[in-house]
């Protein structure tokens, strides 16, 4: 299982890199920006919290870098991400834990829908490639793929929120869903439809493009022609023979795609004031709340890592060649 070992190694190394970036960044910048932040919050934080922050960001500390790094790892492994400066006295961990499920739900569901939708359309376009459908779909997907997520989100919000009034214009979700029961669930769904639609529509374009190209390439393979020579029905050739193979590269390309979608989703959350990590990150950036920023970055990275790892596992399950020999 050389393939799997390599993936695990990448997973661990990337996790380490994400954590280390958080450690290095503030120390790398000329005139450590965290110092400015700390100065601003002087007096508003307890001395203990301040002391912890000095270690985390390497401000006014006489410890060696190595000792700081070790202490930093100690904090990370025990889940001690420090206090949020914006939401003081709430801890960063609390804030992230509160926001994370929202993002997971929104991004998870819309990515899944976008993947299925985009892949399906890509298959259909490739199967009829050269047709008018294919000719129209391609530039449309390119355009969708080239739209800034947040801008599209703004237009959706304006049109369906303000002008037509079909959906709530954002905010207030935390209160609404606390109503609980069906009303709460309804509030969650009605708040999520627009952001989810935005992410789905803009992300699907990318999947259409990659799937279409993979599939067109696969349709030229001998085994597709041979499948037709066997007299298999079109549906079987299209899905079981062509699409089943064409979808494989999508799993190795998943890393880039999911990173891109998550980025877009963060911006979408901001536009809709959706109470997820993206919105929290925005607040943190506005308030120069570095501890919160770092924890969010870490969390998003880990989530993306896990998503990638799952995609790798799916790939292993779907491609017998990788299972047997292992590829790098």
């Amino acid at each position: 299982m050389r393939y799997l070992t390599r993936r695990v190694l990448v997973l661990l190394l990337t996790g380490w890199a994400a954590l280390t970036i958080n450690f290095v960044l503030p120390r790398l910048m000329p005139g450590n920006p965290a110092e400015v932040m700390l100065a601003r919050f002087q007096g508003r934080l307890s001395p203990r919290a301040l002391a912890a922050l000095t270690v985390e960001f390497g401000v006014h500390t006489h410890q060696s870098l190595l000792a700081q790094y070790v202490a930093y790892w100690g904090h990370m492994l025990t889940g001690n991400f420090g206090l949020s400066l914006t939401y003081y006295p709430a801890s960063v961990a609390q804030m992230v834990a509160q926001a994370f499920p929202w993002t997971l739900g929104l991004v998870g569901i819309s990515t899944l829908i976008a993947f299925i939708l985009g892949t399906g359309i890509g298959i259909a376009a490739a199967w009829r490639h050269g047709s008018r459908l294919d000719g129209v779909l391609l530039p449309v997907s390119l355009l969708l793929n080239s739209m800034p997520y947040f801008w599209f989100a703004l237009l959706m919000l304006y049109l369906f929120g303000f002008v037509l009034g079909w959906f709530p214009v954002g905010g207030g979700l935390n209160l609404a869903h606390q109503a609980g029961g069906w009303a709460g669930l309804g509030a969650i769904i009605s708040h999520a439809i627009l952001p989810a639609a935005t992410i789905t529509i803009t992300a699907a374009g990318g999947w259409v493009l990659t799937m279409r190209n993979n599939m067109v390439a696969i349709l030229g393979e001998d085994f597709v022609k041979f499948a037709r020579a066997k007299g298999l029905p079109d549906r079987v050739v299209e899905f079981r023979y062509a699409a089943r193979n064409a979808i494989l590269p999508n799993f190795t390309g998943f890393a880039m795609a999911i990173g891109f979608v998550v980025g877009g989703a963060l911006l979408t959350e901001i536009v809709f004031s959706y109470p997820g990590l993206g919105y929290l990150l925005y607040e943190a950036v506005l308030n120069l709340d570095y501890p919160l920023m770092q924890a969010i970055f870490l969390f998003i990275s880990l989530a993306v890592l896990v998503a990638n790892f799952l995609a790798d596992l799916a790939y292993i399950l779907l491609d017998p060649r990788v299972r047997a020999v292992g590829r790098s």
Binding site: D222, F223, K225, L232, D234, V236
Partner: protein, 328 residues
């Protein structure tokens, strides 16, 4: 022996309009029950295109521009897709070149057999498995390979598997396009031997396509020679061996001396086949022909002539008989 498949005036082009490249031009060929018809020629002469067009497997931009293919009284090329699908494999099977990619890389061999049988109405899994095991035995592949994936098979095994698949529904005609080219001579021999044994047992006809004329002389009842999209000579195997008429056939014979023959110096054919996009007006072989007659060969395209019964050739060296040359 009755007429099984009749190709009449078949012309196949890639692309459309005046820029179309004609890969097969006005080819007549008949296949009778139980016989082995060989088609020989250099790569690019149109022999593979002929086979694909004759079975309706041509992919765009390839198109049949003229002529027709009759099988058991039906016009194959005008058959509705559903009907054509039922002819495939059950009536006419196709064996492609022994490349990596004829079998679907992500499906077990067993499933690729089951797919084929299910498509032709064999819904009982037990019957399907029994049939599969039977043909595996015929082509001498151990039944345990049923559970394997294509990449786990050697080239020879894979080719045998593909041949087994073509036999599983006991078709009356099998097209074999370079079925053993990628294999070493020993494996090639063994496979050809089993194909021949099977043919005697099951009484199906074979159209065997190869660049290796000497191989055809050993196995084929009748041989057709193609050059630059044209059929230039056709005769029974022994007749062609003893009396090749067309200078191109003679040259091919030099290039591939029969296996048993005394190995004189191998002679390649000097020059290149003409560019199909701009065929010269006369005989397509004129530029490479040692017996070219200026003023005739380079200006007038030779018509098919029946020289002796069952032996016809398209060459100016043999004057046109009264009959137009269509084979009886």
């Amino acid at each position: 022996m009755s007429l099984l498949l009749e190709i009449a005036g078949l012309t196949v082009g890639y692309g459309a309009g005046p820029t179309a490249v004609l890969a097969v031009q006005d080819v007549d060929l008949a296949v009778h029950t139980g016989e082995v018809v060989g088609i020989a020629g250099e790569s690019g002469c149109g022999k593979s295109t002929l086979a694909l067009a004759a079975t309706g497997l041509l992919d765009p931009p390839g198109r049949v521009l003229q002529g027709g293919v009759r099988y058991a009284g039906q016009d194959l090329l005008r058959l509705p897709p559903a009907a054509l699908r039922h002819v495939r494999l059950r009536q006419i099977a196709m064996v492609f070149q022994a490349s990596m990619n004829v079998l679907n890389p992500v499906l077990r061999i067993r499933d690729q057999f089951l797919d084929a049988m299910q498509a032709h109405g064999i819904t009982s899994r037990r019957e399907a498995v029994e049939r599969t095991q039977a043909v595996f035995e015929l082509v001498k592949v151990p039944a345990r390979f049923l559970d394997a994936y294509p990449h786990q098979l050697s080239g020879g095994m894979r080719q045998r598997t593909v041949i087994a698949l073509s036999l599983v529904l006991e078709p009356r005609l099998i097209f074999m396009d370079e079925p053993t080219t990628a294999l070493d001579v020993v494996v090639q021999r063994a496979i050809l031997q089993s194909v021949n044994d099977l043919r005697v047992q099951r009484d199906f006809a074979v159209v065997f396509i190869t660049h290796d004329l000497s191989l055809l002389i050993e196995i084929a009842d009748r041989i057709a020679i193609m050059y630059a999209g044209y059929l230039v000579e056709e005769a029974s195997g022994p007749e062609l061996y003893q009396q090749p008429l067309h200078p191109y056939t003679q040259a091919l014979m030099q290039a591939f001396p029969p296996l048993g023959a005394v190995r004189s110096r191998l002679q390649g054919i000097p020059g290149q086949p003409p560019d199909l996009r701009q065929l010269p007006p006369g005989c397509p072989f004129a530029a490479r022909c040692g017996k070219v007659r200026q003023g005739t060969c380079d200006t007038v395209r030779p018509a098919m002539t029946i020289v002796t019964p069952g032996h016809r050739v398209a060459c100016h060296l043999y004057p046109v008989s009264t009959e137009g040359g269509k084979q009886a």
